[in-house]
């Protein structure tokens, strides 16, 4: 590593960026050894892609192989399906072998089956994990890849070495279950007891934040105090935490106590009314106020408002609107005894999307009925 350490506030983890291992990293590695298929679903900027790239790096250090396919680089919404999958197949195999792959004749489904077989063959010699990032872009179009994986797993004798697949993205499973032609396959993969194992990517814990202190001036004790206050506001949200750290790293000397400094920064970056220019908050704002209006936005707002009033809500995995709130980054699941509950993600979210926000942004009749 060369150059000073830095914080990653956009995109995937780059050179010199500090990567923090979470408990999920170990869980993911273990899970991929056992299960042929895992998925991580969550809002933007919680570190999904960075975790996948870290996994890829770790695999290469243990003679395994991670193939990372970032669907942002493909015409998932614009290109013909055949040429899209041809590209994915070609690019993944090209990275595994020295020779230029030759695609076999046949239709897309046959090629996908052939692809999975090729990956399994390589997995006989070393661990192979196929990572598909932004998988939601594929599944919103069709489930042809899931069908191929299901058929492949059925045909493959149990106990033989096989490649694993990790799917990452932002996709609303309860909503997909309501789409004709997809429901069956979505249930088979992502429903309770389905083929794919869900990995819950949780925010950083306070004790996990310590590596960030090395890039924060001016003293270890002050850096620690800064991190305490940052965690107070962000509850370890990866982007928000690093955004605050990045700005705090510019301070050469403390102008006030750490809490005051961070409070000012939080106010400046996130809490001023036009801070919804911040990409993270913008995403949440957009899901709460979709431009098409109608019942979807209203249903999301209603649930969020209830949660805001009550402090917590019982999770309902079948409710697409609750999933929307989770994918918006507004809400996280908390395990309390044997129940899964939903809580507002952190104090920043709670302060931005508060009663005042509803008054300013919800349709007038909705805001009035809420106040009555």
């Amino acid at each position: 590593m060369t150059g000073p350490l830095t914080f990653q506030i956009a995109g995937t983890i780059g050179p010199n960026a500090i990567y923090i291992e979470r408990a999920t990293d170990a869980e993911l590695t273990a899970m991929l050894r056992e299960a042929p298929l895992c998925h991580i679903v969550g809002p933007p900027q919680i570190g999904k892609s960075s975790m996948a790239l870290h996994l890829k790096e770790s695999l290469s250090q243990t003679a395994g192989c991670g193939i990372y396919l970032d669907l942002n680089g493909y015409g998932t919404t614009t290109s013909p399906e055949g040429s899209l999958y041809n590209s994915l197949i070609f690019d993944s195999l090209e990275r595994l072998t020295d020779e230029e792959p030759t695609l076999p004749p046949g239709d897309t489904r046959e090629r996908l089956m052939w692809w999975l077989q090729q990956l399994d063959k390589i997995a006989e010699e070393r661990q192979v994990v196929l990572i598909i990032d932004e998988f939601g872009l594929l599944v919103s179009r069709s489930v042809i890849l899931l069908e191929a994986i299901a058929a492949h797993l059925t045909a493959r004798p149990a106990g033989t070495p096989r490649a694993s697949v990790l799917l990452l993205g932002i996709f609303n499973i309860p909503q997909l279950l309501g789409e004709p032609g997809k429901a069956e396959m979505i249930r088979a993969f992502f429903g309770a007891g389905g083929l794919s194992r869900r990995i819950e990517l949780v925010d950083f814990k306070r004790e996990e934040l310590s590596p960030f202190a090395q890039a924060l001036p001016p003293s270890a004790a002050y850096a620690d105090a800064l991190l305490d206050r940052i965690a107070y506001w962000t509850s370890g949200h990866p982007y928000m935490t690093q955004m605050l750290c990045l700005q705090a790293a510019k301070w050469h000397a403390p102008e006030a106590d750490a809490a005051t400094q961070i409070d000012r920064l939080v106010n400046q970056l996130f809490l001023v009314p036009n801070s919804i220019g911040d990409p993270c908050l913008a995403w949440a704002h957009k899901l709460l106020c979709p431009s098409e209006g109608g019942v979807t936005g209203q249903a999301r707002r209603l649930r969020y408002k209830t949660l805001l009033k009550q402090g917590e809500l019982l999770d309902d995995p079948k409710d697409p609107y609750i999933t929307d709130l989770i994918l918006a980054g507004l809400v996280v699941r908390r395990r309390v005894q044997d129940q899964t509950r939903l809580v507002v993600r952190n104090r920043i979210i709670m302060n931005v999307f508060d009663d005042g926000w509803f008054l300013r942004n919800a349709p007038a009749d909705e805001a009035r009925s809420e106040t009555r």
Binding site: A10, G14, N274
Partner: protein, 596 residues
């Protein structure tokens, strides 16, 4: 007053009547040397003998107000009807009149979609008031029309085709009298208006209300002068202050935004795609130009890098697929790098149906980086907001996806690529589609100048804002308001609006207080007339916006996201103390006046 005083001071109204003819001809012209006016030959009925004219008047409008006219004494005319060009030699002209600079060669290599300005004198106005014109240099082939030939346009003339909202087919008659008006790009004349005709596709959308005009190139003027041994004097030697429309950065006039500069260079040094956003006129282009100039110094790996700037306003295809935009982008990159055989490369991209076209775009950029990117390649994509709205639905989404994808590849040759992006508006507010920049780009938001920055900008124009103003400002209860207070009260810290005032004062050696007095006396005829006219057009096109702004004036709200987008992009509104409000005193006064 025009927002380009150097232009209107150089333009003239010509009234010419031949003996025996019942009516005079009205036309326009412009000063090309201290004593020489250029115009069309047909404006003088193709005649050069002064004795044939019963009336021949040249009127200058050089003063700070339109109404002060000066007559010049005409001593000679030279004229070439074939090229539709004439030069009028005049004496006893006011000494402060400054000729316009001519730029030869533009007709050989026109830059389609360049914005032009002109300044003519429509004959239909009995008072002979001038009319500022603006529009676009158009690709004649694209318009599928043939150049106009014939005695009026000049048989030997190679035309430059212009389009403008003001050349509307219905209003074509009003524009009679603009023949001979200069066609200016930046601050140089590239031609002069020869003829205005209705648009041939006037009945067809989307050009239903547009017309076209033909301009003759300045080469005709230069050839006529050379042929007649008329010397054109050298360009102006006075200090030239930058106009807000001059996008080229003169580092001597740049006002630093230290925090934003540090952030942008920090992000770029980490190879993070960096998105600069802010309202129109806030200084995004200037800021980006400065950052570009600092890359080599701050990011050694990119010293000597190739910088390619792609302006999305130049991609104006409203039909076609999203992929075509990316092919245009690749084509522009290859073209900027002088890569040979571009049509063949792009053709392969278009025809290769086996693989995904977007993936092929990345492959193409990757191959460019391998070959050309040893010194680094900086891709600057500006005016991205233009890709929202009328363009194919998935285009913005696909663009942000690709930005994230390219920025996420840290291995060679992708580590040789930097991306600097520019958009007018908070990305959130682009609500036409549910498309947001993915988290692939870090964002730099540009706001109004601070008071210190306003004063710094004024210093560049040799103005001192700490002087006391003679006006009273409400917020200054001790009655000791400075020029800076008065200016901020009117236009806040908006760089382009400030610069208009500074430019007007400095270029005309006037007191800034007087310039501001004039603004307040007559907003519609002030240096901000065009700014306010644009606002008026926008409000006329969407009465709902007018209602919303009137509500804001009364302290009420009720903005939809879409309205907020449009008004915030145009820097008409801003949020203050948790409330949306009209951004500047200028707009408040104007809207109050209009609503009254």
């Amino acid at each position: 007053m025009s927002r380009r005083p150097w232009l209107n001071q150089a333009c003239v109204r010509i009234v010419a009547q031949l003996r025996g003819k019942p009516l005079p001809l009205h036309s326009s012209g412009f000063l090309i040397a201290p004593h020489i006016i250029a115009t069309c030959a047909h404006a003088l009925s193709d005649q050069s003998d002064l004795r044939l004219f019963s009336k021949l008047e040249i009127e200058f409008f050089h003063s700070q107000t339109f109404r002060t006219k000066e007559q010049g004494e005409i001593v000679q005319i030279v004229c070439d009807p074939q090229c539709d060009v004439a030069l009028i030699l005049v004496k006893h002209l006011p000494t402060e009149l400054k000729p316009l600079r001519l730029r030869a060669g533009y007709r050989i290599n026109p830059d389609f979609h360049d914005r032009f300005n002109s300044y003519g004198f429509p004959g239909i106005d009995p008072k002979g008031n001038p009319l500022p014109l603006e529009g676009t240099i158009e690709d004649m082939d694209k318009l599928r029309i043939k150049p106009v030939q014939g005695p009026v346009a000049g048989e030997r003339t190679v035309h430059i085709t212009l389009t403008s909202e003001q050349f509307s087919a219905g209003a074509g008659a009003i524009l009679g009298g603009c023949s001979g008006a200069p066609v200016v790009i930046g601050r140089e004349v590239i031609g002069y208006i020869g003829r205005i005709i209705p648009h041939p596709d006037a009945a067809q959308p989307p050009h239903a209300q547009f017309g076209i005009a033909y301009a003759h190139p300045v080469e005709h003027i230069l050839e006529l002068a050379r042929f007649n041994n008329i010397a054109l004097s050298p360009p102006l030697t006075d200090k030239q202050y930058p106009h807000p429309d001059d996008s080229k950065l003169d580092i001597a006039y740049y006002v630093h935004r230290n925090q934003e500069e540090t952030d942008a260079l920090h992000y770029l040094s980490r190879r993070m795609p960096t998105l600069v956003w802010g309202a129109r006129g806030i200084g995004k282009s200037t800021f980006i130009n400065y950052i570009k100039s600092q890359l080599g110094q701050n990011i050694p790996a990119f010293a000597g890098s190739t910088i390619i700037e792609l302006d999305c306003t130049r991609y104006v295809r409203k039909e076609g697929t999203a992929n075509e935009f990316f092919f245009w982008m690749v084509s522009a990159v290859l073209s900027a790098l002088n890569v040979q055989d571009i049509p063949s490369r792009i053709g392969k991209l278009l025809k290769n149906s086996e693989f995904d076209p977007i993936r092929e775009v990345s492959k193409c950029i990757e191959s460019v980086l391998k070959i050309e990117g040893k010194q680094g390649l900086v891709l600057v994509l500006t005016s991205i907001e233009k890709l929202y709205g009328d363009h194919p639905e998935h285009l913005p989404e696909q663009l942000w996806s690709l930005v994230k994808h390219w920025g996420s590849m840290h291995q060679p040759p992708w580590n040789q690529l930097l991306m600097l992006l520019e958009v007018s508006s908070a990305p959130l507010l682009m609500q036409d589609r549910d498309v947001l920049p993915r988290n692939g780009a870090v964002q730099i938001s540009l706001e109004d100048f601070t008071r210190a920055q306003v004063e710094r900008l004024a210093e560049h124009y040799d103005l001192n804002l700490t002087d006391l103003t003679h006006a009273s400002i409400e917020d200054c209860c001790d009655g000791r308001a400075t020029l800076c207070d008065r200016l901020i009260d009117l236009v806040g810290g908006h760089p382009a609006l400030l610069q208009l005032a500074f430019y007007s004062a400095a270029s005309n050696r006037r007191d800034l207080d007087d310039v501001l007095d004039e603004v307040l006396e007559n907003l519609e005829r002030s240096i901000y007339s065009q700014v306010l006219q644009k606002l008026d057009w926008a409000l006329s096109a969407d009465p709902r916006l007018r209602a919303v702004l009137n509500a804001l004036l009364r302290g009420q709200s009720g903005l939809s996201d879409r309205e907020r987008v449009r008004l915030e992009i145009a820097s008409i509104i801003q949020i203050r103390k948790d409330q949306w409000c009209i951004r500047y005193g200028l707009y408040q006064r104007y809207l109050r006046k209009r609503s009254a």
